[in-house]
């Protein structure tokens, strides 16, 4: 019997998961042997991989703080990953308890874990969805339960789009999500760039991720800038993530090698 389109896939934990590798880089133990093995292969290719992941996670933290300070109280975090240290709802709700957060991820284990963490938190929930199907996210009853699209929303797409192929038109996907947002909403986005690294390094890194559930598709600064179409970039614009409103000047030693490029934009 052929599996119908709407039947879900089964969980394959024998394959490295990008979400759990990321957790490993951040120092977490929400991972399995296959994930650690792939993460170590990545470290062999790019020794600063853990620092790079941490720098991206710190960008996420700083951008959430910025957004709460800017008055946003609704967060739609797509590609939210395994909830580990410094989750969006923890940061936002610590600053403004009324903040609502919806986590969206394609990885069922990440979503399962998110639900466990969020049990009892009425202002945060997690759904499983694919950013490549933005309508499903925007129409999802759980999303609508916590997010009022008539009010400003912080759309977080941090360290996700490098898992989306060009054929899936990331600019259009972001555009579709943007079209649902009220003026005064924000986009916080980062993604792996192809810059600052030798082709050999990239080849090795790509080879590692080919074995995972999410192969890599890096993009240059120009393409990443395009993702912000329709948004007005806040200072300092699109930069290596450690350079985005750093807490202190000595945060990351060699920003050129930070891989992740990102920024925050405001919808007029």
């Amino acid at each position: 019997m052929r599996r119908p389109d709407w039947a879900p896939e089964t969980i394959d934990i024998d394959r490295p998961s990008a979400a759990r590798m990321y957790d490993y880089f951040l120092g977490g133990s929400h991972n399995f042997a296959v994930d650690r093995e792939a993460a170590q292969a990545m470290i062999a290719a790019v020794p600063e991989a853990p620092l790079i992941a941490q720098a991206n996670r710190a960008f996420l933290r700083r951008s959430v703080r910025f957004l709460v300070e800017a008055g946003v109280r609704q967060f739609l975090d797509i590609g939210s990953g395994i909830p580990t240290v410094g989750n969006v709802h923890e940061i936002a709700q610590a600053m403004a308890p009324e903040s609502t957060v919806v986590y969206v991820d394609i990885d069922p284990v990440a979503v399962g874990h998110s639900r466990e963490i969020l049990d009892g938190n009425e202002r945060a929930l997690a759904i499983r969805a694919d950013i490549r199907d933005p309508d499903r996210i925007l129409d999802h009853p759980d999303v609508l339960k916590l997010i009022d699209f008539g009010q400003p929303v912080a759309l977080m797409i941090v360290a996700v789009l490098h898992y989306v192929r060009d054929e899936d038109r990331p600019t259009d996907l972001v555009g579709r999500l943007r079209s649902a947002l009220a003026p005064g909403s924000y986009l916080a986005l980062s993604q792996a760039s192809g810059e600052g690294r030798s082709p050999a390094e990239w080849d090795e890194a790509s080879a590692v991720y080919k074995r995972t559930d999410r192969p890599l598709h890096n993009r240059g600064r120009a393409e990443i800038t395009q993702l912000f179409d329709g948004f007005e970039l806040v200072e300092p614009g699109i930069v290596w993530v450690p350079e985005w409103r750093p807490d202190s000047s000595h945060a990351f030693e060699d920003v050129e090698r930070a891989i992740y490029i990102g920024g925050v934009g405001r919808l007029r």
Binding site: M1, P4, W6, A7, P8, E9, T10, I11, I13, R20, L26, G27, G28, S29, H30, N31, F32, P50, L51, A53, Q54, R57, A58, R61, I82, T84, V85, G86, E90, I91, P108, V109, A110, V111, G112, H113, E116, D247, S248, A251
Partner: protein
């Protein structure tokens, strides 16, 4: 204020943070720097430093606590982990930085020169009372070592617990996710299976599921004398509903009918086979009656009034029923039989059930087999003609012969026309078969003309279709020419009813043929309306009186009924003669009949008394 190392530390009033001066911040910054990057810390550098300053104060307090307590070190270690400084590197660098800098940065270095014991004795740090009494510096070093040991233990324990907790929770998440995926898959499979096995409109089981269940009945045990029943239900005039009220109303009606049927059929499986066809499977019947009850209930259920589109509507259904032992039949046999039976119910007036009857089915099958075998049989020459004498009642002369077609069926033997002419008429083969008969009869007639100048005419029955056909005149003309046959040696018989119903064209056909000199006879006269008026206008030369009248002459002439028949015949004969028609009596079987016919002036006769149908060679002998 600089801490006085010589003073006994006061375990209760721990020194405040400001007591350590700038050294505290310097140390905390160094510590923060050392652990940054060992794992992700969800705080700003300033927050980290502040946190570590707090821990530093607690370290110092622990160093000076009296009595020295292991618990403090454990707690500091586990607090580090709780603050997410939680990695092997985090621990290593922490110990390194404390050991290297804590005392120095905070100005806690033991005052005065190190004692001899502390400088060189291997047990300088043991702190044991037997080491010759340690000075305050030695005591501090001693305490530092023990403190670091407990910090490391507390840290390692907390890190291990955290790791185990995280492992447990991610495994649980994976398990839950897997269970959910499997559940969803099962559910979607169930949904898929439901969709694949149910009709989307009525949600009744569909043809596939029915076939499966029916097959199941046969698989379970075909030999233990079990029986089954099937009702094949079809709505009467459903197309009309669709056509007049629209498809949507039709669909609505089907949904209601389905609901009623399901209720009417009780525990038995009701499936929608498509369109307005439903089927009920009655398993484990004990006798035919069991199914008849279900069928009655189904008919009653269907008959209930419906409201469709605000309009009250009534429909009926016809049902074909099969009930038989499971052994010796197959699912497809059962369904075929049910379908056939449904047609019987329909053709006998609808709104009823019919029960399968194997004998009737057998007959229909044979008819079907015959009708489908006929074209090839005609090609292969399986048909032939017998001839029955038509004899003059005046002098016993052989006037003519009637050609009677036979089918020498390879399996069934010689078949008489009543077995297959009707079928040929249904299928339309009658035209080709009729042509063959006509041609063969002409050929034979011509042969007899060659044999004798007293050769009989050959009388051939024409079917209505032939009479109406535009090519009849041409066909006959062609045959006469081909065989050089005198036209009066050919007689064409048409039935009275055919004659009545013929259109102008057919009359024209007959007139042209009569003009050629071909004899035209009315067959079976007296069985139809016997309207004599048309005989005047038609080019007919002979009436063949149906055997039914002649039959009456068999009885003794004293019987009133027989007398009546004789009178009718006599009237008929005289009337015919008035119209200049000759009369031939059919079905004459006895000499008495012949005598009485002769007495009333009948011209000729045909029947067993004068000769049965025979092959042409036997006719030769009569010439």
């Amino acid at each position: 204020m600089i801490h006085d190392p010589d003073a006994k530390p006061d375990p209760v009033a721990a020194p405040g943070q400001d007591r350590y001066g700038p050294g505290l911040a310097v140390f905390a910054r160094a510590w923060a720097k050392a652990v940054t990057g060992t794992s992700y810390l969800p705080v700003t550098p300033a927050q980290l430093e502040e946190f570590l300053e707090g821990l530093t104060v607690r370290l110092v307090e622990a160093l000076h606590e009296e009595p020295f307590s292991l618990r403090r070190g454990y707690q500091i270690g586990s607090d580090l982990v709780a603050a997410h400084i939680a990695s092997a590197e985090g621990l290593g660098r922490t110990i390194e930085v404390i050991e290297l800098r804590l005392l120095r940065d905070l100005g806690l270095s033991p005052a005065g020169p190190p004692t001899a014991a502390s400088a060189g004795s291997p047990d300088a740090t043991s702190g044991g009372p037997g080491s010759g009494g340690p000075g305050p510096g030695d005591d501090l070093r001693d305490r530092m070592a023990r403190l670091l040991g407990t910090v490391a233990i507390g840290y390692a324990r907390a890190l291990r617990d955290r790791t185990l907790d995280e492992q447990e929770s991610i495994r649980r998440a994976a398990m839950v996710a897997r269970e959910q995926a499997e559940h969803a898959l099962r559910e979607s499979e169930a949904r898929f299976r439901h969709q694949a096995t149910h009709d989307p409109l009525t949600d009744l089981p569909n043809r596939a599921l029915f076939a499966e269940r029916l097959a199941g009945v046969f698989e379970r045990d075909g030999r233990s004398g079990r029986r089954l029943g099937v009702c094949f239900v079809d709505l009467d005039g459903f197309k009309m509903v669709n056509d007049t009220l629209g498809h949507q109303a039709g669909d609505q009606l089907l949904v209601s009918v389905a609901r009623n049927l399901r209720r009417g059929a009780g525990e038995h499986l009701v499936a929608r086979m498509g369109g307005d066809e439903f089927v009920i499977l009655v398993e484990d019947t004990t006798c035919t009656d069991d199914v008849l009850k279900v069928a009655d209930a189904a008919l009653a259920a269907v008959n209930e009034p419906y409201v469709v589109d605000g309009q009250e509507l009534r429909v009926s259904a016809s049902i074909g029923i099969v009930e038989r032992p499971v052994a010796g039949t197959t699912p497809s046999d059962v369904m075929r039989a049910a379908n056939i039976t449904l047609h019987w119910a329909k053709s006998s007036g609808k709104s009823r059930w019919a029960l399968f009857d194997p004998e009737r089915n057998e007959r229909e099958l044979t008819r079907y087999a015959l009708s489908s075998a006929m074209p090839a049989a005609l090609e292969r020459g399986e048909f032939c003609l017998d001839y029955q004498p038509l004899v003059s009642l005046c002098d016993g002369r052989l006037l003519g012969v009637e050609a009677l077609v036979r089918w020498r069926h390879p399996q069934l033997g010689v078949l008489r026309p009543d077995r297959f002419i009707g079928l040929a008429e249904e299928t339309g083969l009658i035209v080709r078969l009729g042509s063959w008969v006509l041609a063969e009869a002409c050929r034979q007639a011509r042969r007899w003309v060659g044999l004798s100048e007293k050769a009989p005419f050959v009388s051939v029955n024409l079917a209505v279709r032939q009479v109406r056909g535009p090519g009849l005149v041409k066909e006959v003309t062609g045959l006469l020419r081909e065989h050089d046959l005198p036209p009066d040696r050919l007689q064409l018989e048409i039935t009275e009813s055919a004659m009545m119903n013929t259109a102008d064209e057919s009359v024209d056909n007959l007139r042209s043929l009569a003009d050629l000199g071909v004899r035209i006879a009315i067959d079976d006269f007296g069985t139809g309306y016997s309207n004599l008026s048309y005989l005047r206008t038609l080019p007919v030369c002979e009436l063949k009186v149906a055997g039914a009248f002649v039959e009456g002459l068999r009885a003794p002439a004293t019987e009133p009924a027989s007398v009546t028949d004789e009178r009718i015949l006599a009237t008929l004969v005289s009337l015919a003669h008035t119209l200049d028609l000759t009369v031939t009596a059919e079905g004459v079987e006895t000499a008495t009949q012949a005598d009485r016919l002769r007495a009333i002036g009948c011209d000729a006769a045909q029947g067993w008394h004068f000769g049965k149908p025979m092959p042409p060679s036997l006719v030769d002998a009569l010439l």
